[in-house]
């Protein structure tokens, strides 16, 4: 699959999901079990993504100190219920500064 196909199908699929919710009568898909499964799905997905994005590089476990430290700082901000933007900036700043220091040190 080329990148263009990936982009196009991501767009089509995402929009289809959004529109479907407006078109389908709530009764049809609003079965409590299905609803619960769909609610839990992002939990599993997001948790897996956090791990993979934090410690992996392809098939290798790549524990990059600066990135992990930035992620750690971001995680603390999330735990302290900091605003989204604060989490993002704190993580980025930490990692960038550490890299700068490690490079020049």
């Amino acid at each position: 699959m080329s990148l263009w196909m990936l982009v196009i199908w991501t767009i089509v699929g995402c929009y289809a999901f959004k529109l479907a919710g407006y078109l389908v009568p709530a009764r049809v898909l609003d079965h409590p079990q299905i609803r619960r499964l769909v609610e839990l799905l992002p939990v599993a997905l997001l948790a897996a993504l956090v791990v993979v994005e934090a410690i992996a590089d392809g098939r290798h476990i790549d524990v990059n100190g600066a990135r992990l430290a930035g992620f750690g700082v971001g995680a603390v901000c999330v735990w302290r219920r900091a605003p989204f933007l604060v989490v993002v900036i704190a993580a980025a700043l930490t990692t960038a500064l550490l890299r700068l220091l490690l490079r020049s040190g």
């Binding site: 990148l3 990936l6 767009i11 999901f17 529109l19 799905l41 939990v43 791990v51 971001g74 605003p83």
Partner: protein, 218 residues
Amino acid sequence: MSVRRDSVGVGLAVGAYGFAFGAASVAAGLTVLQSCLLSLLAFTGGTQFAVVGVVAGGGSGGAALASGLLLGSRNMLYAMRLAPLLRVGGVRRLLAALGTIDESTAMAVAQPDAKDGRTAFWWTSACVFTFWNVSTLLGALAGSVVDPADFGLDAVVPAAFLALLAPRLRAGAVERRIAVLGAVLAGVLIPFTPPGVPVLAATAALLLSVRIRGEVSG
């Protein structure tokens, strides 16, 4: 009116994060145009990051698409929740669908009355859409010139996923257990499977276990 002001604030905060997406996207190998199209027409942050994240890790297009669509399926639930509130038809419905994301839904359902709910939805989706797309373009252009890693943007991705995950963790013990298992499963699978698969396999395994154990009723 505080609903509008809050919507602008949310739009700014979330939209600024689009900068990281733009940079991450071009770092993964997508063009500036492809990155901008994703933000314009897919317009769902978690999915966009998941897709470029799998690509960046060397994963197949199929794995990237599957991860992205699985994550994006929650927007359908949001749409179902919003439909009776917004009462849109025709072109407005097509527009409402595009704007149906975490933040616009959350702002809409948080309002005590329906009129404020509709205001919150339209203002939040419009603000997030504007800022998200402008910052995606800026981030993609910047990422084409400088290395996003120099700005620590690679740490932003897992941190942002964690920020998306956190409210769900606070929702209950089932959620926390699933998150821990998902994280461990995915981590264990990384060295043994192609990129993109750990995320999908962990998700599939957990959904199966939830069904079998009948914890669906929560």
